[in-house]
């Protein structure tokens, strides 16, 4: 019953933020004008604003957040680290290097290949991390420190790559600090193609990821191969994280906060952790984007900045509780 109420609650909060995203913005249109833009099918400016700018942005920020939340849950499950986050640990940074190269004109691909390239670059970093976790002496805290170093390194390389080309500052900022200003329906389709199958696979396998939390020796004694299952979980996390950076740039802390919030609200059951982290990731990112859009409107903040304001104190709290 409590679970049911929580999910309904998430749904209503998301709807509320979506309405805010739909009806508030820099165009100063009245509610009735916007409402008619939503329904009417002529090609007026209001219809353009609603259907080509605001609605895609709401959906894309939601889906990107879903990817980040699920990716964070997978990383925390398989690394046993409470501060696991795809962008903090450099997995998203892999995709940002690739995208930087593409923005800077170092290589020219069409959109399909840019999307695929982002995913593959993140996948590579996630498999490197998975390999690191498998080495025996790496405690969760050591792993976190190495992950953060890897994260900083990837962002630096990405920034270095991007400064080769003459790129608009807005594009650079959008990549390293996150932005949904260039949302469109194509990106939504790309994200759905990734998110739906990965979510299904994670659901099916989620029970197998749980024993990994006890460490490699004990999960072996429960008949679960820790290395293989961790490779699977980290690959899924890498794919999701690459897709999220392609859609919205590097948005920090959503992947860290969503699973923790989910444990607090829904508990630790595998299927609720997976579903809840996905939904809460979406909710947090949608909220961060609305904050970024409206806080100092018409000037927009990077969405990663808004999510960091929420996430950084949470990480400090978690670090405080570490032993």
């Amino acid at each position: 019953m409590r679970l049911f109420v929580s999910y309904i609650g998430f749904f209503f909060i998301i709807c509320m933020f979506a309405l805010v995203g739909l009806f508030y913005g820099p165009s100063d249109a009245s509610l009735s004008e916007l409402a008619s833009g939503l329904i009417r099918s002529d090609d007026g400016p209001m219809e353009m604003i609603i259907w080509s700018i605001r609605i895609p942005r709401i959906i894309l920020s939601l889906l990107t957040g879903c990817c980040l939340g699920l990716s964070g849950a997978l990383i925390q499950l398989s690394s046993r680290s409470s501060i696991g986050d795809p962008n903090l640990f450099g997995i998203g940074g892999g995709a940002s290097i690739f995208l930087a190269g593409s923005y800077a004109g170092i290589f020219v691909f069409n959109e399909h290949w840019i999307f695929l390239g982002s995913i593959i670059s993140s996948l590579i970093i996630s498999l490197i991390l998975s390999r690191l976790i498998a080495s025996k002496d790496l405690t969760p805290i050591k792993l976190a420190i190495m992950g953060i170093a890897l994260g900083t390194l990837t962002v630096s390389i990405g920034t270095a790559v991007i400064s080769f080309g003459r790129v608009f500052p807005g594009q650079v900022l959008g990549l390293v600090a996150g932005s949904f200003t260039s949302s469109n329906w194509d990106k939504i389709v790309y994200l759905l193609i990734i998110l739906i199958p990965v979510l299904l696979i994670t659901f099916i396998l989620s029970k197998r990821f749980y024993p990994i939390m006890l460490g490699d020796v004990l999960s072996k004694s429960l008949g679960v191969n820790p290395i293989r299952n961790r490779n699977i979980a980290m690959s899924l996390a890498g794919i999701l994280s690459g897709a999220s950076v392609y859609a919205g740039g590097l948005i920090g802390f959503v992947g860290l906060v969503a699973p923790h919030l989910c444990r607090k609200i829904l508990g630790n059951h595998p299927s609720h952790l997976i579903l809840g982290s996905t939904i809460l990731g979406g909710l947090l990112t949608l909220f961060s984007d609305q904050l970024a859009r409206l806080l100092f409107a018409p000037t927009e903040l990077p969405v990663g900045m808004a999510s960091t304001i929420l996430g950084a104190p949470m990480m400090m709290y978690l670090a405080w509780r570490l032993k």
Binding site: R80, M213, L218, K220, G223
Partner: protein, 210 residues
Amino acid sequence: MKIDISNLSVLFDDQIILDDISCHFPEGKFSCLVGENGSGKSTLLRTLTKDIDKFQGSITDLKSSDYSYIPQNIDDPEFLSVQEVVKLGFYQSKISDQDLNLQSHQLLKRFDIEHLESRRFSEISMGQKQRAWLAFALAQDKKVILMDEPLAAVDLQSRKNFYSILNTVSKENRTLVLVTHDLEIAMEFCEHMVHLHQGAISFEGPPKNF
């Protein structure tokens, strides 16, 4: 299930860790493997669990479905509560969610830690953690339980309690082997003792004969 070890030798980098040892651990008894640090007792256990696979001699072939193993210095599992750790012990048994809750509760109750079941694992005391790990091992319902000195940082009274629990657990037709350097308490509670000294066996038998 009886464990037999005959003429076992283990070498690390040309250094002899275990030198042609033969011993056994009987079924239904609480056995202790004692010795000083570096005497080779952990190596013997890790050979049984196939963590070490280069050796000479013969040992009872233990499959992962035969034994549960609690290693030395286990990291606290992040995120999990005491009850969730014990529940994971039932991972391989196909029981309903309701039975899972009931049985894990009963195990915790048996070791007097049922009031802690919803606490985070990392927040409970060392002595309580040991009992929770034992509950986790028992949940797996295997014939052999191997424990590597899970008592390092615990006060004397809790250690004695834990040893007497182990003694009753071994009576359920289990082979229970505990590695420890605590000779005095081992002699008080265990029924079969193997003493290692510099990679060789210096005593095997009931502790009263030591």
